[in-house]
Structures are given as structure tokens and as C-alpha cells.
Symmetry: C3
Subunit: 143 residues, 3 copies
């Protein structure tokens, strides 16, 4: 008789951002996986906001992250003539930058560890100027 | 004896678009989840086309959606000198806009509900001028 | 008594790239699914690098792929004034192009086949000039 032990575990944590920029959350996600005890499957990371987003990035070179951040400042400038600006000049650019990056990311899980490459990390990409609490959902499916 | 009740359910629906723009599909996806009875897991939404895409968006401010749409009109203009234009000036921009946004999105499911933030919704982003039927696949994995 | 047969299977393969461009990997991913025997679920494709990425694309028109590649050459040019250029002029653009595209993609699986639309295929998007071995992880969850 076959009995499989697949299961799902949901976890949540919050990140305090201090204005625009990229904030690595790899360790926080891995801690939730460790707690779950799931060894083999997929972890889905999801950010519950439309004015920040997720991105994978080089985790060793801060200069590379600053270049990414500057690129988005130029591609989606604050000074453009947006129709929607209820919350100030960084309001509409935050939504567009979110659309151009990611809200969910799915990462393979083997022997309890996310299978990142050597330089890969997962980051919260904050697009607002003011500090925010950002809510991240971690769903672990596996055995 | 442990017996787990993890399962997978596949659902499909179609959206009728009336030219370029964003069309919210949150309710259609949630209806498929309700039908499945799955309470806890992940739902993967997938669009079966290369000339439209998916995006998360602010669901309360139509002006914000119009700004996103205008941004893509400028970033990937119809008038550029594309090699591939078999189906008209909106053909190649539609593929590039798809590449810059998303084909699949994965959303956590808790107590039978997608765990969106207050202002989050999921949208089909139509990149073609003519009306189209667009096919969305919903895969629900959970217990 | 209900006993479900959900399971997870992890597979890996490598792609040899010959410089910048898009390389279709649909057949390689499907071969791993065939080997797994899983019929119904989701396959998550994940690329273990930050200087290449994944994208869905039109798989029938090479001209469309060349237009996408040219678009990214213009949007994220090699000649820009990047702070991070340790590995040459294509170093920083490779990371930004990755951020603008995808690291993971999730595709529904029905009757053992990925549920792509007629013209959909999945591609590795190489952003570096030199040839590289690129590692792709395929996680199949289903029954």
C-alpha cells in the first residue's frame, strides 16, 4: 500500500523597509523552510503589495544592486506626467516597477534547502520613499 | 497511519477582451478555487498566449491602470522598426510586453481564499488591438 | 479509505549557450516530465543564475525572437555608465535583463504534457557574450 507524505505549510513574515532599495530576504525564507521540516518540493514566495515587488539578484555585489535601482529610477521616473498621483510622486512609479518585476517567485527545495545558484538571492524591492512594513507569504509544498 | 489529502485540480476559463488594456480576472479565478473545495495550498494562474500576459495590479484605482497601459505604449511603441510585423503594428509590441510582464503567477491559498493584499488583484493584460478570446488555466494544489 | 498519490520529482539539465540570445528548452523540460511519469499537476522551471533568465516566447517566428533580443539591447545598453562592471560591459546589463524577465516559470501539466498554447515555448535567455553552461532545475509536483 502506497502512502505519500506530501503536505503544504504556510508561513508569514514582515520586512521593515527604510525607503527605496533592495532588501535581501533569503535567510528569512530559509528559516521558515527549516521550521516546516519539508525536505523536497517547491517554495513559493509571494509579496502582498502593489507598491513593492520581488526580484532575484546577485547577492555578493552591492554595486550591482545600486545599478539595478538606478536603472529603474531612469526607466520609470518620478517626474513623469502620471494621471494617478494620490500618494505623491513615488506612487505611480511604484506600481509600474512592480509590474516590471515580480510578485511571486517559486524556488525548488532539495534536502531542505532552496536550490539557489552560488550568487543568487531573493530580495524585496521597495519602490516607496517612506519606511513600510511589507508582508511576505511563504508556501512550502513537498514531502 | 498517516493519510494525506493533498490533491491537484485543473480548471480553465476564457476571457473576452475588447482591445488593449487590463481586465481583472480575480473573481473568475476565485470561483474555480471555490468549486475545487481546496482550502490550503497554492493556485497557479497561467495564460496560454504570447500576445497577452498576466499582471498583478492595484484593483481600486482605474487611473493607475491607465498609467501602466500608457507606460507600456511608450516603452514598447507600435511605430518602432520591428523585423517581425506579419500581423500589423501591434504584433511585435505584444510579444515584447508579454516578455516584460508575466505568463504565470502563483498565489497562496488559505481557508479557500487567495491571500491577496487589500489592493491586489490579478489582471489579464491584453496587448492586441482586436478583440480576442484568451484562455486561462488555473491549477490548484493543496489539501 | 482515500489514499492520494501526489508526489514531487526533481530533475536537472544543462544548456550550452553560444553567446547572447534565446534558446528554446521546451523539449528538454518535457523529456524530464515524461521520465517522471507524473500526469497532472504543475512543473516549475528555475534557472540557477543571475546573468541569464527564462522567458516564454513565440516559438515559430525567429524574427520575433530577434526583435525581442534587439529590444533588450536598446533598453539595457552595454555602453551605459554602470558602477558594477567587474566582468566587462555585458556584466551589469545581464543582471538588469534578468530582473526584467523571469527566473522561474510554472506551467500546468495535464495528461503528462505541459499545457502550452499553440505558439508558446519556454526559452533560456542568455545575456552574456561568452558561451556558458546554464543549469535548469525542473520540479514536477502532481499525481
Amino acid at each position: 500500500m502506497l502512502i505519500f507524505t506530501m503536505r503544504v505549510q504556510q508561513e508569514t513574515f514582515e520586512v521593515r523597509t527604510k525607503g527605496k532599495g533592495t532588501y535581501e530576504i533569503t535567510d528569512e525564507v530559509q528559516a521558515k523552510i527549516d521550521k516546516s521540516g519539508v525536505q523536497n518540493g517547491v517554495v513559493t514566495i509571494f509579496v502582498q503589495h502593489t507598491s513593492c515587488s520581488l526580484t532575484m539578484m546577485e547577492n555578493a555585489a552591492p554595486a550591482a544592486r545600486r545599478d539595478v535601482e538606478r536603472f529603474f529610477e531612469h526607466l520609470v521616473p518620478e517626474g513623469a506626467d502620471y494621471e494617478h498621483d494620490d500618494e505623491g510622486p513615488d506612487d505611480m512609479p511604484s506600481h509600474i516597477r512592480m509590474v516590471l518585476t515580480r510578485t511571486s517567485e517559486s524556488v525548488p527545495l532539495v534536502d531542505g534547502k532552496m536550490q539557489f545558484g552560488t550568487w543568487q538571492g531573493i530580495f524585496l524591492f521597495e519602490h516607496r520613499r517612506e519606511p513600510h512594513w511589507r508582508r511576505i507569504l511563504v508556501t512550502i509544498i513537498g514531502e
